[in-house]
Subunit: 215 residues, 2 copies
């Protein structure tokens, strides 16, 4: 019998990511992996997204946090299926955690699963979860120089949501320079500019997402 | 002969952190480990700190980034010794990297070494570097709910610098609630409120730091 050798944690993760992919395909479910720094607005964007697709897509949310369950409670209040994963110190989600969560969701009637990753611009980019779409959020308060410092996240994401644009007048954030830098690293990335606080720009994002989910 | 067993990376790190500590003690140098999310203002606070202690303390800076050297260039422009560590993907600094950097600095005439850790609220809190002081920065744009989500960082830090307070009027950040939450987790933490953009509150922080360095 042949023995399979796993080259560390990434290969092991990849195998389970593929299992997740197959499971989602079986049920025709689209999965988004939402990644960002702490406080960039992941939960706020998820809440805005649920609002924007309400009545059109049936959604579920997997919340990844080191500790606590405040975010999943906020989601569940909306009557949306929510599962909380507490990583207990680990700085990213892995495919096996998402696999367990998917097993507990009712995927039969679902169209869209949104995974909120742990707040971190580094490690989550290295672990595929079996998602259809890697989305990252950057808050303008973080500054326009972030792509050069966290290159993997910016080059891995399929869609980049620039959040808190209502704060631009109060910061030194240079949106044009930022977009130019990102496009050099990731020419195909889709960029949206939103304010989760006042809702500006959110419809463009949810419209594009609905198109992608294709229901 | 007895064989020493290292319980994984933390024990190995701890041994080198103690070596760093001994080296700093030999030269009478105080070391600050500056930790924060991406874009919270680590480099800006370091620049403000250098300005605030100029002529009183002789400083050096160790810059930790996944990639790039823009920050160390900004420091060096001020005529301050700066060493760049590129972690090449790793999401935190470890004691051995700081050990190498300390070996390249002229510690003879130095009073204060500031280490800028990789932008991450998770893993840097787990790796001691041999520092005298663990400082963390939170930007108000990140939100007042961060302590419950990233508990280790908030309970490990000795000093917490709340940055971008000029943005408070444009956000939902509740400073009193935030401080109450933090103090429950970390009753002895010293808290400063600053704006690196306009300099507000910086003298209180640099005054306290000079006192700690005790030169």
């Amino acid at each position: 019998m042949e023995i399979e050798v796993l080259e560390g944690i990434f290969d092991a993760n990849e195998i389970i990511a593929r299992e997740n992919r197959a499971l989602l395909d079986r049920f025709g479910v689209f999965m988004v992996n939402m990644m960002a720094s702490p406080g960039a607005g992941k939960t706020s964007l998820i809440l805005r997204t649920l609002e924007g697709v309400e009545g059109e897509l049936s959604c579920a949310v997997i919340e990844g946090d080191i500790a606590g369950k405040v975010d999943s409670e906020r989601i569940a209040e909306r009557g949306v299926q929510a599962i909380q994963i507490n990583t207990g110190g680990s700085c990213h989600l892995e495919a096996r955690q998402v696999n367990t969560a998917l097993g507990r969701l009712d995927l039969e009637g679902a169209d869209l699963v949104v995974v909120e990753n742990v707040g971190n611009l580094v490690c989550p980019a290295e672990f595929h979860l079996g998602e259809d779409l890697k989305a990252m959020i950057l808050s303008v308060a973080e500054g326009h120089d972030k792509p050069l410092k966290y290159p993997l996240m910016f080059s891995e994401c399929h869609v980049l949501i620039v959040n808190k644009i209502d704060l631009i007048p109060h910061t030194d954030f240079d949106l044009e320079l930022f977009k130019k830098t990102v496009r050099k690293m990731n020419p195909s990335v889709e960029i949206f500019e939103v304010s989760c606080r006042n809702g500006d720009g959110v419809p463009a994002w949810t419209g594009w997402l609905k198109d992608r989910v294709g229901k």
